[in-house]
Symmetry: C2
């Protein structure tokens, strides 16, 4: 029995190249989970096979800009002339239904989310060693060394922001890391500030 019935917004972030996407996928493979991956809104046209409300919410430029004006995005960015953003109303609806909403975003985006949703759970994924991160960033193949250098500097800046997160999880093994995030979600629901309200209701015999 879970005292806190509202879902959690779980932000998975960390330096580029750390394996956030793989961990997020492993998380969704945990049996009997009630996780929802946050669906983004975009102004770009759907590609073949993409489904409205599954891959993206597809909207016009005018609609998106109205959304920005009305503060309807948790975070958004413009990329190659198209907007991409996370609509707040969608997330709130899922949380109210008790779903755990998982967002996987870059460090800068995560810190923006922190300001709008202080209640969310912020998990910073880190490599098991500095060498492991360098190996991953340099192993992607054919880039020029200046590009690799730029990436390393970005990773350096990013991994110094760990202290802004609630939890630090090592990506030594992807299933181990996903499992620890699952434990974090279970523990967060039991936190006194999230559960005491329902507990007092139970004790008053009202539920």
């Amino acid at each position: 029995m879970k005292l806190n019935e509202r879902g959690l917004l779980v932000v998975i972030s960390g330096p580029s190249g750390v394996g956030k996407g793989t961990i997020r996928k492993a998380l969704f493979e945990i049996p009997d989970n009630n996780f929802i991956y946050s669906v983004s809104m975009t102004t770009r046209k759907p590609r073949a096979g993409e489904v409205e409300g599954v891959d993206y919410f597809f909207v016009s430029r005018e609609e998106f800009e109205l959304g920005i004006k009305n503060g309807e995005f948790l975070e958004y960015a413009e990329f190659v002339g198209e907007y991409y953003g996370t609509p707040l109303s969608y997330i709130d609806k899922q949380l109210q239904e008790g779903k755990e909403v998982i967002i996987e975003i870059e460090v800068q985006g995560a810190l923006q989310v922190r300001e709008k949703m202080p209640d969310a759970v912020f998990v910073f994924i880190v490599p098991p060693s500095k060498k492991a991160l360098i190996d991953r960033l340099t192993a992607r193949g054919t880039e020029r060394s200046s590009e690799i250098q730029r990436r390393l500097e970005k990773a350096e800046r990013e991994y110094n922001l760990a202290y802004k997160y609630d939890y630090i999880v090592v990506n030594d093994d992807v299933f181990n890391a996903a499992d620890r995030i699952f434990a974090i979600i279970r523990a967060e629901h039991a936190k006194t500030e999230r559960s005491i309200h329902k507990y007092y209701k139970l004790m008053e015999g009202k539920e």
Copy 2:
């Protein structure tokens, strides 16, 4: 991989009759755990079959009182003319070895521990409903109704202290409750304040 290598002191507490002892036992049945149950020190004589360092540390009254004087107890109490207490040095040694030290104590004792070990994890066990607690307290058998009334009043005072704990766990099912405490322990190790020091060491390439 766990960034925080020091063990956690986990205090399991809650109103009398809530089933703390059963949950603690279920916790120790979790496979591959590294839990240690805190061994108390006492001045009473060993009973048949009791083993020094397993059931209790048996000491003389003089030794125990010297311990009190030197502040060597996490908490202690006198009961029917004999002392019982939790020695700090034993706990500290286990934590340093990376063991999770589990203590199961009454609410008043737990609040004393909080003052001495703010770093510990405090879990408050609650019944799934007020009725469940009343049923348990009154079902123990042959006590007079005045004794039952006294217990109910004690439970009422105790369960209003939930807000002083870090987590609230419902004892709806003993294995479910134990499993949630296990998740709490895993999550606590990943907390930024416990893990960032080791993380920065890793990033400096020192480990």
